[in-house]
Amino acid sequence: MASDLDSLFSDPDDLLDALPAYQRQSVDTLLNSGKSPEEVAQLWLTTPGPSNTFPFGGERFASVFYDKLLDELEKFICDDKEYLAERRELISKVEAGKVVATSFMTTVIATHLGTTPALLTPAVVLILISVSRIGRRAWCEARAEVRKASQDPSKPLPPAEKA
């Protein structure tokens, strides 16, 4: 069934159209500086705002968020049973366009992660672009290897995930 998702991964740069202008501008700047989509996604979720500034608000940033997003995206696009119903709905939305489909996927995952789609969308889009370039199957296999390696510390991580 997941192969029906493959049209989502054709012409991956179109996925950036899902971003509002204020996010697109920063993402484009970072991509044009030579950073990979995954690097930019990670920066988007882990940068604690302007540098050398102590925030005067009530909550501090959680840095484990990026890995959780990768886990949820893997479940979503790599045939995991947890997102079976949502994946069916996503497939029905792919025909409506990548922006609609990406928005749906982001909203579902944001709910699981306890955050807002407004924050998550650029990171999801950038990771999907990365998946598109590697190929969905290859990305899913690499993720599976990473999980196996993390359970067995004697095994090195696969090269694709080190990049």
Binding site: Y22, L45, T47, S51, F54, G57, E59
Partner: protein, 219 residues
Amino acid sequence: MAVNPLFQLAPQFVLTVGRTSPEGLKLLGSAFFVAPGKLATTKHVTGADQTNLVLVFPRNDTLLTYEDTSNTQVRFIPTKITAVDPLRDICILEISTGAPRYHITGTDDVAPGDPVVTFGFPHSDTGRLVLTLQNADVGARILIDAAGIKSKHIVMNTQARPGQSGGPVFTADASRVVAMVIGSYAPGGGGGISLGGIDPATLHQTTHAISAEYIKGML
């Protein structure tokens, strides 16, 4: 000197962001109206998590009324996040009421030496809910980097405390909001030493505020 008539009405456009839980209401920071039904605060105030996120209204309608600090009754309504820019530390919230009575511009409108006026809820992390006006001068215009994205900020010659993040910075004539308070200068982002819950690295008059022009782009 009399307080500017618009500033007297600050409780009607500067609110507190909070989060409800079974233990009660936790106050997180400040927010202010930037468009009909929309308010700006910092991303770090909300954590980009809209679970049980609320906006708390000040108890008085004007700044001239004495705030009863023993009063623990508050009125709040749920809110949701409509836009987030983590690199510039900005978050836009939505509710069904309210509108600004001023223009949102940017830090190009103020120069070093110009007087500015800020509003916020200092010490709200301890539960104190007192909307407080602070007069300050612009000390510097600076660009601050975040992951390779540089943004316009001003340094204000005033000391800020937890709870003031997300507060508006007005021109002295009350006509424009030029910036939003985000925190204080602290090498490496602070967090090294804590004395009684206070980081000594933050005890100085070098408060950072990001240009409001970036807020306009998120509405």
